[in-house]
């Protein structure tokens, strides 16, 4: 069973972040910190700098420091299992944020409390389904993948590729990693556009690469939104603005503001409520129909 959590005035909570090298993670961290500050909790924050192994060590140091709850944004599904188990053994409930751990090895409500977040596979699917309806005759896709080996990259590719195959009529002419980065995304897009001049859709695994791709399209003398349709995931303000401008056709949101929901879930558990195994984050979808209106709400 998941360790119990006493009701207290204030808590010492741990938040084990995986990395801080992109705007999305930074927004997530800020949201957690802001919420902890609002509630007057003490937040023990660690950053694993992209290493699953270090993240386990970080969790262990939180255990040593005797935190009440651990929020864990697992870098990877499998390697974080030992951290989850160690916390359980030490009597500290764990709440997973934005990525889950291998369900075969650890179960919600048993080894950890719950998983709060959205589904990367589903994000890819949603994008593919939207595209199937709104392609307007475009069909040749360049896919800009995230960092090779990272789970959002794997899942967003899997969800999209499978759904687009099911939809038929589409062809992924090239699929290469742009490392979730604007500069790399641009460089890869430049090379791929050059090698595949017939491509008319670019699907990027995050906003940054999509924005890089737009400048690659412009450098190649084409018009984003007209000659080439750009699709993205994340839905930060800049990207939503570009949807409003018409340069990006559609964005699936993946909201990083986890703070309120995370701490609310924790409070519910302390009160003794039963927590569902998956606290779903509902993410928006932006396209030309709603982008202008939603722009102020984008993160």
């Amino acid at each position: 069973e998941v360790p119990a959590l006493k009701q207290k005035q204030t808590y010492k909570v741990g938040f084990a972040q995986t990395e801080s090298n992109n705007p999305w993670r930074i927004a997530q961290t800020d949201s957690m910190k802001a919420e902890a500050a609002k509630l007057g909790y003490q937040l023990v924050y660690t950053d694993a700098a992209g290493s699953a192994a270090k993240q386990v060590a970080d969790v262990n140091s939180m255990i040593a420091q005797g935190v009440d709850v651990i929020f864990l944004a697992p870098r990877e599904e499998k390697p974080l299992i030992p951290a989850v188990m160690a916390a359980k053994k030490a009597g500290i409930p764990v709440i997973l944020l934005d990525r889950s751990v291998d369900p075969k090895l650890a179960k919600p409500g048993q080894d950890y409390l719950t998983f709060i977040g959205s589904d990367f596979v589903k994000e890819g699917q949603r994008m593919a389904e939207w595209l199937a309806k709104n392609a307007n005759g475009k069909s040749k896709i360049i896919e800009l993948e995230g960092t090779t080996g990272s789970s959002p990259a794997n899942d967003r590719k899997k969800g999209f590729d499978e759904a687009i195959k099911a939809a038929g009529n589409f062809q992924i002419v090239a699929s290469q990693s742009g490392d979730f980065a604007r500069d790399k995304g641009r460089q890869v897009a430049e090379a791929l556009l050059q090698a595949h001049p017939d491509a008319d859709i670019i699907y990027a695994h995050n906003d940054e690469m999509a924005i890089g791709a737009i400048s690659a399209i412009e450098a190649a003398g084409k018009v984003p939104g007209k000659d080439i349709m750009v699709l993205s995931i994340d839905g930060g303000k800049e990207a939503v603005g570009l949807v409003a401008e018409g340069k990006i056709a559609a964005v699936v949101e993946c909201n990083p503001r986890f703070g309120p929901k995370a701490f609310e879930t924790m409070a519910r558990y302390a009160k003794g409520e039963k927590i569902e195994p998956w606290v779903i984050n509902d993410d928006k979808f932006y396209d030309s129909t709603n982008a202008k209106a939603e722009l102020p709400n984008a993160y």
């Binding site: 801080s20 090298n21 992109n22 705007p23 930074i26 993948e145 090779t148 090239a174 699929s175 290469q176 990693s177 490392d179 980065a181 604007r182 500069d183 790399k184 641009r186 460089q187 890869v188 430049e190 090379a191 791929l192 050059q194 090698a195 595949h196 001049p197 940054e208 924005i211 890089g212 400048s215 450098a219 190649a220 800049e238």
Partner: protein
């Protein structure tokens, strides 16, 4: 003073081509093979746009690798270049976006956005040089300090946040054109040409090589060893700073987390593929230019031919080894 000619036998003439030429041809050969391969295999390779894409993408590497060549020529190495790029890339937008202090005159702001970040990275280069000379810390370790802390500094001053901007004046160095040549390509050529001239014709160039070749002998010949070493790190810092500006200008955004990430390895690989010994005493700027082009073209080839990222790593590794090997064979023959 008078020295009388007492020689009896005329010195025998050497019929060997110069070593430098040979090693340059090694890299050249690798480049030619790559181009031939692409002509045969890569779709739409033969076009001006291809040249354009590759040259603009290689510009930053060449600029950094030029500074790296000088550092390596003194027997040093500079791991901090990527972090310094991040710092200059972080500072520049803060100036013309008025995040630091409001500057009324936009022209002045842009001018400062060019000058100040480079001064900052030069100062960091000076810091590297001081560690290497004053404290006699080995270059890999001395520059490892800023490799680790430098990016942290850039992240701290921007709080890790992306800075997005549109500023045609500033972005001219990446987006502009000079006589039909993209500005960053022109910049790259100017930097490489200047470095070439310095190494070949000036006293400073000679002294850099002497310091790398035998530091004790250089000191005994009256060469200001410390000053020369500090200077190459300052130059490397300045060029890294410049490359940082080019990269952020090209992206209309500065991301302290990612600008210049891994650049040190690309730059060092370019220098090595280009035929300069990492142990110092040699500097082959043209080789570095060609080496960077080889690396860039390998990347392009793999991308354009749809080689998956993982396999691309293996192929890239193999090609670097091959290029260095060919180059060294040529060198020894």
């Amino acid at each position: 003073m008078t020295i009388t000619d007492t020689s009896s036998a005329a010195p025998t003439v050497r019929k060997l081509s110069s070593l430098q030429l040979a090693s340059r041809y090694g890299t050249m050969l690798a480049l030619l093979l790559l181009i031939l391969f692409n002509l045969a295999m890569t779709p739409n390779f033969l076009s001006w746009q291809t040249v354009n894409v590759n040259l603009t993408q290689v510009a930053a590497i060449v600029i950094v690798a030029t500074g790296m060549t000088l550092v390596i020529a003194t027997g040093g190495i500079d791991l901090s270049v990527g972090s310094l790029m991040a710092i200059s890339g972080a500072v520049a937008p803060m100036i013309f976006l008025d995040t630091l202090v409001p500057i009324a005159d936009p022209v002045l702001a842009v001018a400062l956005a060019f000058v100040l970040p480079i001064l900052v990275t030069m100062a960091f280069g000076w810091f590297n040089g001081m560690l290497v000379t004053r404290y006699a810390i080995q270059p890999i370790v001395a520059t490892l300090v800023l490799f680790i802390a430098g990016r942290g500094i850039a992240q701290v001053i921007t709080n890790g946040n992306l800075q997005v901007f549109k500023n045609p004046g500033f972005q001219f160095i990446a987006m502009g054109q000079i006589a039909g040549i993209p500005a960053q390509v022109a910049l790259m050529l100017v930097v490489a040409a200047a470095a070439f001239a310095v190494m070949r014709y000036t006293m400073f160039g000679r002294q850099v090589l002497a310091v790398g070749g035998n530091e004790k002998a250089a000191r005994l010949a009256g060469i200001p060893v410390r000053r020369i070493k500090i200077l190459v790190y300052v130059i490397s810092g300045a060029l890294a700073g410049l490359a940082g500006l080019v990269v952020v200008a090209r992206n209309s955004a500065s991301d302290a987390n990612l600008v210049g990430l891994g650049m040190e390895l690309d730059a060092i690989a370019a220098v090595a593929v280009g035929g300069s010994l990492l142990s110092g005493g040699r500097a082959n700027i043209i080789g570095t230019l060609l080496g960077a082009l080889v690396i860039q073209l390998v990347r392009y080839t793999l991308l354009a031919n749809g080689v998956p990222d993982a396999a691309a790593l293996v192929v890239k590794a193999g090609l670097i080894v091959l290029a260095v090997y060919v180059q060294q064979r040529a060198d020894r023959s």
